[in-house]
């Protein structure tokens, strides 16, 4: 009799627990809208890794990949909002207006827009990562490791995110090596392995012995490996693609944020905010450092990483001048987020013009 009571008590507890978990899992459904395919091993791939973390935390998720940044995005968002999703992550800059437009029609659905700045309705939040902090570290490594003092940089599109990265990288590289030149090639694509490889090859043929990239595929690090120069992984750890060339990678780590926000919806604590996390919050992760880097450089990088995380060092600390020599950030000051978000001028030391 006792046994029966205990057993039924335990089993009802288990049932209750299962029901609660099921209730949470059933109650909160998260959707993700991707610009590219999840198989790009870059931007979208990393967002999908974040989505899987949400799934692992016990929530249901849906995703739609390859959604163009047009009226199609609105249609997809409306469809997702209509089909019982409670929180929708839109993971590309161009979804900014569609997200806000659809958010107005569905006040009970939470919208999270990546890399944007418009929060026109109380149910729209924005989030982004301070990738430029990672590029400060890459610049420091590049400036130290280069022998030819020519550093190549394969860029994608002239938007503040990319310009900020180039500036942060160049400022850091110049700090350790005032003689370096950053040569920039615009590939006008986020990922096209063939084109990226050709751009990297052009830079290598012109004497660059360290290649940085702001495009997504692994073609550039592979080209660097073939040519015997150094490179850095983008978005995910690319070391296995080019073990000799890759000195480190800057990884996008969205998982913790996604889990946090979906849980907030489940707990009813979600509120609108603008999140811009960097190394300190773990949204930007620096992969393991290659053993080819001298010990003192490794130590320096680790210290820089800690200082960036704690806020002791800021990637954009004055004095910073633009290409014409005008002061952008005064001595002792740091660039504020407004300036960083709209950065569309090169700092002194970057060669060439920003494509208009």
């Amino acid at each position: 009799m006792h046994k029966f009571l205990i057993r039924s008590f335990v089993s009802s507890l288990v049932l209750l627990f299962t029901l609660t978990v099921a209730a949470i899992a059933k109650d909160v459904k998260a959707a993700f809208v991707y610009i590219g395919p999840t198989g790009d091993h870059g931007w979208t791939y990393q967002h999908d890794v974040g989505r899987k973390a949400v799934e692992a935390a016990g929530f249901k998720t849906t995703y739609v990949e390859g959604v163009p940044e047009s009226a199609d995005a609105e249609r997809v968002l409306r469809q997702l909002a209509n089909s019982g999703h409670d929180i929708i992550f839109t993971t590309s800059f161009g979804y900014m207006n569609p997200t806000n437009k659809v958010a107005k029609e569905f006040p009970n659905v939470k919208f999270e827009h990546a890399t944007g700045y418009k929060r026109e309705h109380p149910n729209v939040a924005t989030y982004a990562a301070r990738f430029y902090e990672g590029r400060t570290i890459l610049g420091t490594i590049a400036g130290t490791m280069t022998k030819s003092n020519v550093i190549g940089y394969v860029a994608s599109f002239p938007i503040p995110e990319v310009i900020r990265g180039i500036n942060s990288f160049t400022l850091a590289a110049q700090k350790v090596n005032p003689n370096i030149k950053t040569k920039i090639v615009w590939a006008f694509t986020w990922y096209d392995p063939g084109k990226e490889a050709e751009a990297a090859k052009a830079l290598i043929d012109q004497g660059a012995d360290v290649i940085a990239q702001h495009t997504d595929s692994t073609a550039i690090v592979q080209m660097a490996e073939k040519a015997g120069v150094y490179a850095f992984g983008q978005a995910s750890d690319m070391d296995k693609f080019a073990p000799k060339a890759v000195l480190t990678s800057v990884e996008n780590n969205w998982g913790p944020y996604y889990v946090d926000r979906v849980k907030a919806v489940a707990n009813g604590t979600w509120s609108q905010k603008d999140t811009w996390h960097g190394i300190g919050d773990g949204m930007v992760v620096i992969s393991g450092l290659d053993s080819q880097m001298p010990n003192d450089l490794q130590a320096k990088v680790k210290k820089l990483q800690a200082d960036l995380a704690s806020g002791k060092v800021h990637s954009f600390t004055g004095p910073i001048y633009d290409q014409k020599g005008n002061l952008m950030v005064a001595e002792g000051k740091t660039a504020d987020d407004g300036m960083l978000a709209g950065m569309m001028t090169y700092v002194k030391g970057v060669e060439g013009d920003i494509p208009k």
Binding site: G36, P37, T38, G39, D40, H41, G42, Y45, G152, K183, I184, V185, W186, A187, F188, T189, Y191, D192, P193, G194, K195, E196, A197, E198, A199, K201, A202, L203, D205, Q206, A208, S217, T218, A219, Q222, M223, S236, K240, F241, A242, E351, G352, D353, P355, K356
Partner: protein, 310 residues
């Protein structure tokens, strides 16, 4: 910047390497079109070749199996097209477009398991001779077998079409399937063979991208090269040697514009990026402007279905 002679050699070698997939796919499609079949599925067949080659290389570890497997995959997917257009007499344009969409979709599905895996190193030939003669050596030596094959292919194709009996049969079928049929040629079989051959070459072009040029798999990695290959066939007026020229100009301008950017030439980058497309078309139109020759080399029955019973 000092332009030394080896630098020029290196640039020419990169240009040639970038032209390889275009030459392979275009020469394959050229044979298909010469038989009177318009297959717009080049992009789809290339991407199938790319994933098949990469997947087989990863699974079997054998480069030979992977290369031939990619060609076979191109043949298999083009068999679908051949069956639809030749046996069921569907519209060439619609079927070809469907083939491309199908290829991109299915390659993405198969490819899910192969994302993030590094490719294998593909062996190159004559590596030891690479530093012997300035300018010439980097161009001639140290490339993969597919590279040499691609540069021989336009000449082989040209010889095949002009000098061999089978080549003449292919052209006859493309120009007038009715007459060919009356001569006792089985038009359907010839067209089937030409479609499958085109599929094999597109498969090889895709495998070159995923196994040799940028050894990795990512979705949509052909990046529209299939469409460029198709355009090259038309603008070259179905002439294999002009395909070679067009592919070199296209690949060359892509690479040269990157070099111009790196040097810091002050030309709007967007213009530089568009340059390969514009110049390739202009050059091919100019070198093929003899309208009599265009009429002669255009397969008269291109894209038209052929019913033997009519």
């Amino acid at each position: 910047m000092i332009i030394d002679i080896n630098f020029v050699g290196l640039i020419i070698a990169s240009i040639m390497a970038s032209a390889v997939p275009l030459i392979l796919a275009s020469c394959g499609e050229l044979i298909t079109e010469r038989s009177g079949v318009l297959n717009l599925g080049v992009e789809g067949m290339m991407i199938i070749g790319a994933i098949s080659g990469f997947a087989l290389m990863t699974v079997t570890g054998s480069l030979i199996i992977a290369v031939f497997g990619a060609m076979l995959a191109g043949v298999l997917i083009s068999t679908i097209f051949a069956f639809l257009t030749q046996t069921l007499i569907t519209n060439h344009v619609a079927t070809g477009l469907a083939l491309t969409i199908f290829g991109i979709g299915i390659s993405a599905m198969i490819g899910k398991n192969f994302v993030g895996i590094p490719g294998k190193e593909f062996p190159v030939l004559f590596e030891g001779l690479k530093d012997t003669i300035p300018l010439i050596s980097p161009i001639l030596f140290g490339h993969s077998i597919v590279f040499y094959f691609a540069f021989a292919l336009p000449f082989i194709t040209s010889y095949f079409l002009k000098k061999t009996k089978i080549g003449l049969i292919v052209r006859a079928v493309g120009d007038s399937p009715e007459s060919a049929s009356n001569q006792g040629i089985n038009v359907r079989i010839v067209r089937y063979a030409c479609i499958l051959y085109g599929g094999a070459m597109c498969g090889l072009a895709g495998a070159y991208l995923s196994m040799i040029y940028t050894p990795q798999w990512i979705e949509n990695m052909t990046g529209g090269r299939g469409w460029i290959a198709l355009a090259l066939v038309v603008f070259s007026t179905w002439n294999p040697i002009k395909i070679l020229i067009g592919a070199m100009i296209f690949g060359g301008l892509t690479i040269i514009q990157f070099h111009m950017q790196a040097i810091g030439v002050r030309i709007p980058v967007q213009f530089l990026t568009a340059l390969p497309y514009i110049v390739t078309i202009i050059v091919l139109v100019v070198i093929s402007r003899d309208s009599r020759k265009i009429r002669l080399s255009t397969p008269s029955s291109l894209g038209k279905s052929f019913h033997k019973d009519n």
